[in-house]
Amino acid sequence: MGQKSIETLVGFFILLAIAGLVMLAFQVSNLTTYQGSDTYDVKAQFDNIGDLKVRAPVTVAGVKVGQVASISLDPKNYRATVTLRLDRSANNIPNDSSASILTAGLLGSNYISLAPGFAEQFLKSGDSISETHSAIILEQMIGQLLFSVNKDKSADTDSGTNDASKS
């Protein structure tokens, strides 16, 4: 086989590898999404962030507008400080918007949903969102539910028999 055709085949091989890398970068992995693009940071404090993770999505009306950049504990008031990195294209979010931590599906991961308020002022870099709703912890909810069911039952039984002490 001549030198020319060997070089052609090697060139073909290298081009194939580059095409594979491009496919891995843009089709398989998340290189294109929020990669150093124009963003601004907003802080929000939550009583309990549940299972929220760094890089969890931030959405408005279900549309992804950013992601969680960092999570830390405020040493003064023991609340979780979450830094939201929002995309510059979503720069018209009113500054009285509220942030809540929701769960995608029954077993899915947590994400932050912003509910727009009505203020004329928009959120800027460094602002903080004051109105927040914590994550719903399933165990606490079940505990409260059981407690209230028990209370109902004891209220029922109080009027009837004297079994209240049992339940």
């Binding site: 590898a17 891995l24 998340n30």
Partner: protein
């Protein structure tokens, strides 16, 4: 008892000697003054031998591995009715583990053994000595292009392997078993990180490429110049480099997961 201790000592010393001479061999062949681009056609030749000629086996096995991971993953995920996560499962297992490791094992069998046999035969027929007599350095003329060709071609082959294996998973999962194409690709994109998963896989394969090619070329150059010696050297290349690839894979994965 003393004889046993003596044998342990002898084995230990011979391992150290072997490692030392292999390291000297590698450094002597690779660290040399770069000369004019005349040697590029030699590099093209070895890239052709170890890269292009390995493409058919890599492509076919990548296709089948992607398809079998898609099939197995579908059956497991179907139990929990989360088949939409199939793309994530195929992509992560291929990009992180199967791609680098399987390509390295195939490369050791296909290209490593050929390198050892070629250099061993050159040694047995005294071509290397003849070159030295003519004033041509066999390390620069024979070993260096083969080493560099192996170092370059294994990462490239791994990238091709990963891309084709994921396409094979798509073929089985989406086209045949009816997983939704949008869920397949978007779940994959949201869970595969370019730097943490793809680049780490390529780093792994670069390390494997260095180890396998080094092993193959050194075994060829240090083979006993007989028919039997060459066959032993070829066997050693494939066996040792497969074991080292699997062991190093564990070490590298542990280091990468430890956030190193």
């Amino acid at each position: 008892m003393i004889a046993f201790v003596q044998r342990v000592g002898r084995v230990g010393l011979s391992i150290c000697t072997e490692l030392g001479s292999a390291s000297f061999f590698l450094s002597k062949s690779v660290w040399r003054k770069p000369r004019s681009g005349q040697k590029l056609h030699l590099l093209a030749h070895t890239l052709f031998n170890s890269g292009v000629l390995s493409l058919p086996i890599i492509i076919v096995s990548a296709l089948f591995i992607g398809m079998v991971v898609g099939l197995q993953g579908f059956n497991i995920l179907n139990k929990f009715s989360v088949t939409s996560e199939l793309g994530q499962m195929v992509a992560l297992s291929v990009v992180r583990e199967l791609g680098p490791v399987v390509t390295a094992l195939l490369f050791a069998g296909r290209a490593g053994s050929a390198l050892t046999a070629e250099i061993g035969l050159m040694k047995a027929t005294e071509q290397l000595d003849a070159m030295e007599m003519m004033g041509v350095d066999p390390l620069g003329r024979i070993m260096l292009p083969r080493l560099l060709g192996g170092f370059i071609s294994l990462p490239l082959l791994t990238i091709i392997f990963c891309a084709i294996a994921i396409w094979g998973g798509d073929l089985i999962g989406v086209r045949w078993l009816g997983v939704d194409a949008g869920a397949f690709w978007s779940n994959m994109q949201s869970s595969v990180d370019f730097r943490l998963d793809v680049i780490n896989g390529i780093i792994k394969s670069a390390v494997f490429g260095v180890v396998i090619t080094w092993m193959a070329v050194y075994q060829g150059a240090s083979a006993i110049p007989t028919a039997e010696g060459i066959s032993h050297a070829t066997t050693r290349t494939v066996v040792y480099s497969s074991l080292i690839v699997l062991g190093l894979d564990f070490v590298l994965t542990a280091m990468m997961m430890g956030g190193w």
